[in-house]
Point group: C2
């Protein structure tokens, strides 16, 4: 195996010599163009692989304009309007940007739109409203002081990502790229022919980097060109009467706009997914993957590789769904924001290799006054590296304007170090897997494996006050010596995989991550109770098992040993006392950090121990339940210390404390990955400060290591 390689660099027309020099310096083995940049002719002969960013759905306004009925569509919902008399006029596009979206009145509004009384939830009969195309408004009969919305179809006349890049880079002249719907028959034939031609015309291109296939994640702008709504997992812009008629046939029931607009929540993945929305995702996967395969086959027929970018028009591909492997892709590339987003790529099956586009992206929003791209690169690497030791990417790369990166002092030196450590992981481990605990841990939510490494996420590693205390769970796990499954409530009903010894339920009340109404499903609660009683481990974070029912808020309060005060038992005395003397806290020295925490949790029953409290309420507690155990966390934001706390909680819950120190380092800021087949371990320092740590192997303290800031030290086992 060669020492270099595994690295993709971006380039552009005005930066040819610099690109060549950097290829040499960093030993890159692939180059690429990006949105807004072009591959220079001078580089077509390099020995490196050349990627061509390929847009199936845009960058062809001639086609889009000639076929307006096959422009991609999106379901929109207007703001709510309160009627004050017995009629109301609602202007559909108010609050949307008319440069991005245009009402679809080609297809019959009475068939495809829905006017809803949001006070009652009832659909307003189509005979009670009319559309005025000139004014772009719907006028309806109303009940005074009820609220109304109109759900309608609109054409995506400006591709959302192109619009985003255009605004972010302050482009001036570029024409607004329209998005066409490759699923529709004319466009489908056209796109296939065009792909054939592109492959023929570009023999120097080695890899077609699809960016991406057919349907953009939902990204809608407001009338001031600001982001209005974004759902990275969203299917709202994957619709058209053509597709919906097929869906009706497949599903066997009538489609309703409400399945998509979902009361205005647009099926945020935090919603408990409805049967209809699940059906729609299933249907879209089948169709998208089938058609994507046809494009990939074309690419292969020219001896080129097909790579998919995990983003932009990725909707319907669902890399952790049932149909993805059928596409036959050679590779997937995606943006790495932290450990979780790295695993979201590196865990994908059914491709020959995976590539991570590291941060920062070379765009002027970071490479600017006040920006700190070096810090971003280092922190990004620290979080990605620990995950890399568990499930490595095959390649890494960067994207954007290379020129910006070259000009920034010491930036290239920083990524040189990242690249070098990345390659070292592959060399030292010889592609073997690191040691994992002798049992599996499962994350339980409404989505299961299709949202592997996506639970509690809003949008790709972006921080939200509402989620960081839960996302920490999977971010910690992404770099831990633990094999993780993501399971759904349906999976529980099918029977819990015997390899699973710990189930984690983490999330806020009333959402898809904690599970809501699933917790009053008799089969679910009795199955999990029995499983814990017989020796399983259950970890709850935030509002686990929460649903107000029959005197309890946490439906598995008996298993957890805690419930949450929601105001009905204020007059019931709680006598919780804190006793932090416990296995979980043995090598934790700093203050505990539960993030936003969960107010009002208290312990109950006879088998609990409270390990941390905020005033009179519980932040951390353990409980025993038959032969099993549980741990409750009020929140678990990502931090090196919380990685350790979770590791201990998992071993404790699994009743396997004595096996935890098979490979172990004492300092919570350090971690260890053992590669038994090559008899080698890596000890990493996850901070930018020096760290002293004791090394344990097979429960025996071997030595004390002093690690430099960010150091990754490889040690051969005897």
């Amino acid at each position: 195996m060669k020492k270099g390689g595994r690295l993709t660099l971006p380039t552009d027309l005005d930066i040819v010599p610099e690109t060549l020099a950097l290829i040499e310096e960093l030993d890159a083995d692939a180059i690429r163009d990006c949105d807004g940049t072009l591959m220079p002719k001078e580089l077509t002969d390099v020995k490196q692989k050349i990627y061509a960013t390929y847009y199936t759905t845009r960058k062809d306004n001639d086609w889009a304009e000639a076929n307006p009925e096959e422009v991609q569509q999106e379901y929109l919902i207007t703001d709510r309007h309160t009627a004050v008399t017995d009629s109301l006029e609602i202007v559909l596009m108010a609050g949307f940007h008319t440069q991005q979206l245009k009402v679809n009145d080609i297809d019959d509004p009475k068939e495809w739109w829905e006017v809803i009384d949001r006070t009652t939830g009832k659909v307003v009969p189509t005979t009670d409203w009319s559309y005025n195309a000139e004014k772009g408004s719907v006028t309806l009969k109303t009940i005074p002081f009820h609220e109304y919305t109109v759900s309608f179809l609109a054409f995506l006349i400006w591709d959302p990502v192109h619009m985003y890049n255009f605004i972010t880079n302050d482009w001036k002249d570029a024409p607004h790229q329209m998005t066409f719907d490759v699923r529709q028959p004319k466009t489908q034939e056209y796109v296939k022919a065009k792909l054939h031609k592109f492959c023929q015309d570009n023999p120097h291109i080695d890899v077609i980097r699809f960016t991406t296939f057919f349907h953009q994640f939902t990204l809608t702008f407001d009338d001031q060109k600001r982001e209005k709504f974004v759902e990275w997992f969203g299917y709202s812009a994957s619709v058209s009467p053509y597709i919906l008629r097929q869906f009706e046939k497949w599903a066997g029931y009538k489609f309703r706009p409400e399945f998509i607009v979902d009361q205005g929540y647009h099926n945020s993945i935090f919603r408990i997914p409805s049967k209809e929305f699940r059906d729609f995702i299933e249907f879209q996967q089948i169709e998208v993957c089938k058609l994507a395969k046809e494009l990939v086959d074309i690419v292969h027929s020219y001896g080129k590789e097909a790579m998919m970018f995990l983003g932009d028009h990725w909707i319907g591909t669902e890399p952790f769904g049932k149909y993805f492997e059928n596409i036959g892709l050679d590779a997937v590339v995606g943006s790495v924001g932290n450990g979780v987003t790295m695993r979201m790529i590196s865990d994908i099956k059914g491709v020959k290799y995976t590539e991570g586009r590291f941060l920062p992206y070379f765009f002027p929003d970071v490479f600017c006054e006040g920006g700190n791209p070096i810090h971003e690169a280092k922190e990004n690497w620290l979080q990605a590296r620990r995950a890399m030791l568990r499930s490595p990417l095959d390649r890494i790369g960067y994207g954007g304007y290379l020129k910006l990166a070259l000009k920034w002092p010491n930036f290239i030196d920083t990524i040189k170090q990242v690249i070098s450590e990345f390659r070292e992981i592959h060399e030292k481990t010889n592609e073997t897997k690191s040691y994992s605990a002798p049992f599996k841990v499962a994350i339980l939510n409404c989505w299961g494996n299709i949202r592997r490494w996506m639970s509690n996420q809003v949008h790709h590693a972006i921080w939200y006050r509402e989620i960081y205390s839960y996302v920490g769970v999977i971010e910690c796990l992404s770099g831990m010596p633990i094999d993780v499954e993501f399971i759904s409530f349906e999976d529980i009903k099918k029977g819990i995989d015997p390899e699973i010894k710990v189930i984690i339920n983490a999330g806020a009340y009333n959402n898809s991550w904690s599970g809501y109404e699933n917790w009053i499903d008799e089969e679910i609660v009795t199955t999990i109770r029995k499983w814990v009683y017989e020796g399983g481990g259950f970890i709850g974070v935030g509002d686990p098992t929460s649903y107000q029912h029959q005197g309890r808020f946490f439906q598995l309060s008996d298993v957890l040993g805690v419930d949450k005060e929601v105001g009905f038992t204020l007059s019931t005395d709680k006598y919780n006392e804190c006793n932090p003397n416990h296995f979980l806290l043995e090598d934790i020295e700093g203050e505990l950090d539960f993030g936003e925490g969960t107010p009002g949790v208290y312990a109950l029953g006879k088998n609990y121990q409270v390990l941390a409290m905020d005033q009179k309420y519980v932040q951390l507690a353990v409980n025993s339940y038959g032969k099993g155990r549980s741990v409750y966390f009020a929140g678990l934001p990502y931090s090196p210390q919380n990685c350790r706390l979770l590791l201990r909680a998992i071993y404790f819950a699994a009743t396997k404390e004595h096996e935890m120190k098979k490979y172990y380092v004492s300092n919570v800021n350090t971690e260890i990955a053992a590669f038994e087949s090559v008899k080698r371990i890596a000890v990493i320092n996850n901070t930018q400060a020096e760290a002293t740590t004791d090394l344990y192997i097979d429960n025996i303290k071997k030595e004390t290591l002093i690690l430099k800031p960010m150091e990754m030290r490889w040690i051969d086992l005897d």
Copy 2:
């Protein structure tokens, strides 16, 4: 009118000369005995009125022991037990104190008890369980891993307040007083005869101070003699098969234990009251008030006065209910913990006078090392005084062991000042009412007027983290120049009183104070929307109008201009900006205090102004809606500054800003009460620091006052 008087002092056997001296020094006009103290013979001839604390339901163990079937009963519910096989044995008294409560197995358990599967909510058939009296346990057939409870009747063999006083005072020899049920026929006759005899035998007694009538509020101890559960408003200890059979006849449906134990929540007043529980309260009021009247009539027949203590066995009297006035009491006396609890007494109608028992109570839990009775007396007075200026008590008093108070240095001087100011209010105002805003404000919740000055309270002025941010609303109002109504959702349906210009909905999600499912009642929401649209004012605090329905959490988000992020719109951008330049904040200088606050609130629509934010979320906002307005607070704990903020919010919401300074003082730590009929104003300093404040009358600044700490200054108007 004499200068002194209006004051009741406690006394005891061992403190006769001291009592006489203090009567003289404080010019008291009444003396009383208390629980644990006795009226000395030497004092029977004083010219002061003598109160006799009179217990209808206890202090007569001979009767109770001779009539065990008429001992008062309470519905209890066991802890939840998870079955792990197909049967389960539940020991009923586990976790309760057997000195306080004893299982009632005289009345048929199969008729009066209920075994419930809490996993499904279904009642376990009586054929599937049996009671073993010897073991005190119920054995039942179960479904494995379901949870079960047993609801059962128990005799109150130790009166809860007597038990509390016994434990608090560490009494040793006193026999445990049993509680008997005066509603039952034998006991009823006995108690009446006994009252006749007491009146005959005690000609020196002027006032029979009932402590109280028939049913104790719920106060249950655990197996370690600690308080287990307390509900000051609770009806759980007002039951017996005798009463429940009458109830069934009156209500026309079968009684169920679940109506009382309520999933284990015991009908906390935070619960949305069920129809059955409301019926039960109604029934109990009718019967309790009828019987109380009979006792009061006996008292009157001996030329004595009848006074009721608002506490202990007050259940069913409901001073703000429909039947209370019929009792014909001369007076009510209650404990004053702050402004709200004072108004809870002074606003009672249908009595000749009201008396407040001020804090501290002369018990060793305050008059002890580490206690600060002087501070408690001052703070208690500061909060009560402002309420006194709006709706004064006729008398005040103290209770407990006078000896303790006399021994504490400077304590008597402190209360002397309190008594003097209290009398001054009566003298200066000549019993006239202070000026109020020219409109009414209504507090809207599930309870309405029956819980006047009780909303969001757990237990009589006790601080809870979960409530202080809402209780502040009524505590502020208790001393504000505003006439307040407490209305229910049913009152809204009957039509909003035209004098009401502002409606306040304050409370946490899913409870009786915010209203929960009432907010998806079409009639409620359209009535209030229309009312605000036409010029009404709506103030929301915390989670007003909250119920997750049709795309909104706050159902009146259109009126309020805010909704709450509950996780479904994290991907929808909010662009709220803060602009504190507003009428509401004009004379607020300090940091704003929203108490616990409400996370995740954001503004929406086109008519809002955000006045305060916590990170990106709203803490204070105003909105316009047609001709009406709204104000949203994330919380409003009591403080002098928040009194001002609420006053301004009310005048703003009512669109009456220009009338606010009719009588006004600028410093938020000061308040003004105007008595127009006697042409006099009082300006009070609500803090223990000096305060400089500008005085406005009819919108004109008249002068600048410098008030001493706690000062109340009377100024004659020209």
